[in-house]
């Protein structure tokens, strides 16, 4: 045990000046010590710290996750639209309002094909023939599947893919052969093409030669079976007025083509021709997704608000429980501002902890779910930065009142508690 007198070498680093100027320099608390004191306060109550940060974690994770998933889904849809092309138009009779017959003339395909910027055109004709799995099934049990006569260019026009077997050719289109849409194949229980598998269509046996993948731009066609036009006229003596026309144009001229299509398709009743752009539907779906995103963001914001109230509550309790510590710090020379700063920093640390954990969980959820769905993983930087900033802002607001209350506490009152 060493002996030690006031002012001896233990304090050699204290400047040797008159006491009044040296000693009444204002109290100072280094920024690192503010953080240290705040971290010490939280470290002493680990469970409470974790639970109160959890509210913020859930709120931020929800917001980051929703934004991340929404962006990933949007990016995936955009990529899909890009791949499918936005230069596809569909032409349909609009159903006979105003006295029309709701039927497009048979020569529509050849007339539309002559429009300069049109690259490809194909039509389908809905047939009055019930497709059945076999001749033992009742004629009503078609599973809501239509039979259609299809142009050979249909697959190329719609950028469709064959899942199994082949698409119709000049040869197979003239004879009783059928290709199934994706949903139709599923309904009939056809998973693979076996040579000689047949189905019963309009009272005749047709050989199944292929199954298609889904048509993202024309989901109606997934619920159809397709035969060639020659077979349709030969077997059913069908009239070949197009039910729907699919028109692929040069991308730059799509609006111009859209303008002339009604009068080209049906010069006598252009008003009864309906033109649509299938990618508009996907874009509308994207807009609908945005509405859901806003809803979930709102829920995340509510969770965040509740988390903020939780932090404020915990900080108010901390101020009450730690009155002695506040009194001690004032006795050791802390100014009111130092106490205020310590408790505010404690609240900020708490919310930063919750925010960081929330951002991490939100990113993990986005990554996991988007990967599972096969989407492009997009983690918006604005969601990460914004989420963390929101957590900090909540911490600042939640900590302000408790910090001011701690700072207002008189030293004698705090030490007496």
């Amino acid at each position: 045990m060493s002996r030690w007198r006031r002012g001896d070498d233990a304090y050699a680093d204290a400047p040797d000046e008159p006491s009044t100027t040296r000693r009444l320099e204002p109290s100072r608390l280094r920024p690192a010590d503010v953080v240290g004191a705040a971290a010490g306060g939280l470290g002493g109550r680990k469970l409470r710290t974790a639970l109160s940060a959890l509210g913020i974690t859930i709120g931020i994770a929800a917001m980051v996750g929703v934004l991340g998933l929404s962006e990933s889904s949007r990016a995936d849809l955009a990529q899909e639209i890009e791949a499918l092309g936005t230069n596809l138009l569909t032409v349909e009779p609009s159903g006979g309002f105003g006295g029309g017959d709701g039927v497009l003339p048979e020569e529509t395909v050849s007339k539309v094909a002559r429009i300069g910027p049109v690259e490809l055109v194909a039509d389908v004709v809905t047939l009055d023939a019930a497709p059945l799995r076999n001749d033992l099934v009742s004629g009503n049990e078609t599973g809501a599947i239509d039979a259609m006569a299809a142009d050979l260019d249909l697959l190329d026009t719609l950028k469709g893919e064959v899942a199994d077997g082949v698409w119709l050719t000049e040869a197979t289109a003239a004879t009783p052969n059928v290709v199934l849409g994706a949903v139709a194949a599923d309904r009939f229980g056809i998973t693979a093409i076996d040579e000689g598998t047949q189905m019963y269509l309009g009272g005749e046996w047709f050989t199944i030669v292929g199954v298609l993948d889904e048509f993202p731009l024309s989901p109606d066609l997934d619920r159809a079976v397709f035969i060639g036009k020659h077979a349709a006229t030969a077997v059913f003596d069908a009239e070949l007025n197009p039910s729907v026309l699919y028109v692929r144009t040069t991308p730059e001229q799509i609006d111009a083509v859209r303008g002339v299509l009604p009068s080209t398709a049906d010069p006598e009743s252009p008003d009864e021709v309906s033109i649509s752009r299938p990618t508009d539907v996907l874009e509308a779906q994207q807009a609908a997704d945005s509405a859901f995103t806003s809803l979930f963001l709102g829920l995340g914001a509510v969770a965040l608000l509740v988390g903020g109230i939780g932090i404020a509550n915990v900080m108010v309790i901390a101020v009450i429980e730690r009155r002695n510590e506040i009194g001690l710090r004032r006795a050791l020379g802390a100014m009111r501002a130092h106490v205020r700063r310590q408790f505010l920093t404690e609240s900020l640390l708490l919310s930063a902890l919750g925010g960081a954990a929330g951002v991490g969980r939100g990113v993990a959820v986005t990554y996991g779910y988007a990967s599972y769905e096969g989407w492009i993983v997009v983690i918006p930087r604005s969601a990460v930065v914004g989420g963390f900033a929101a957590a900090i802002a909540i911490g600042a607001v939640a900590g302000l009142y408790p910090a001011m209350r701690a700072a207002r506490l008189a030293p004698t009152e705090a030490l007496r508690a």
Partner: protein
């Protein structure tokens, strides 16, 4: 003794109260201190003794700038403190005054050396400097072997020694000890009082507030307080009145 004294040949008293009044609002107002004057010279070890409710705790709060007097002057190391702003009072506590409390007030999550270094926390000293000086202060109070122990690993006497080291670590002009043995058994009390005496021998200025007349009697000077006033008639009797009073 120090370079500071070279600038101040006639050193001011470590502590001086001049006609201090402290009233708490109420109907009627409560006058806890009623014109108390007191001078404590540098290097003195003084006991302020009085029964419960005599005003001695209020006196400690006023001397330690934890509370302001209603009127009168409080000077520590020659600096008039009663009119200073709250910021300046904080500075005075950080640099001129050391406190020892009956309840120790150590932070449970911090080690002994960290608790002592908190005595310098608001001085602006670096962490390295604080810890170095805290280790030295703990060495001085005989706890070199306890630097990294937490308060819950120490006896009551050891905890109070840590608190004393914390009060000394910033080299204050005066140490104010409020019932320093109030929470201790007799053996620990004796060792703490012995430490205070040693520190006095080394030139420290210490004021001990106590209701324990035996403790007061064992210190070189006693100031008796009763009903908010100095009880001059009792001050010289404390020593002879002993435990039976």
């Amino acid at each position: 003794m120090t370079g500071m004294n070279a600038h101040h040949p006639s050193r001011p008293p470590a502590l001086e109260l001049v006609d201090v009044v402290k009233e708490y609002p109420g109907t009627p107002p409560v006058r806890a201190l009623d014109g108390v004057s007191l001078r404590v010279d540098t290097g003195e070890l003084v006991a302020i003794v009085g029964p419960s409710g005599s005003g001695k705790s209020t006196m400690l709060q006023v001397m330690g700038t934890l509370d302001r007097p209603t009127s009168g002057a409080v000077m520590v190391d020659g600096i008039e403190l009663s009119t200073l702003t709250d910021r300046k009072l904080s500075a005075a506590r950080a640099r001129l005054i050391g406190f020892v409390f009956q309840q120790f007030f150590l932070l449970d999550g911090a080690t002994a050396v960290e608790n002592v270094s908190n005595g310098l926390l608001y001085s602006g000293a670096s962490k390295h400097t604080r810890l170095r000086r805290a280790a030295r202060a703990l060495d001085r109070v005989g706890l070199r072997h306890r630097l990294h122990h937490h308060p819950n690993e120490m006896s009551g006497g050891e905890r109070q020694r840590v608190a004393i080291a914390r009060a000394l670590v910033h080299d204050p002009a005066i140490v104010l000890a409020d019932e320093p043995t109030g929470n201790l058994d007799s053996a620990s009390s004796e060792s703490v009082v012995s430490l205070l005496r040693d520190l006095h021998d080394e030139g420290r200025t210490i004021v001990v507030i106590t209701h324990d007349r035996d403790l007061a009697a064992s210190l070189p000077r006693q100031v008796a307080v009763r009903d908010g006033r100095r009880d001059e008639s009792a001050s010289h009797l404390v020593g002879v009145a002993g435990a039976g009073s």
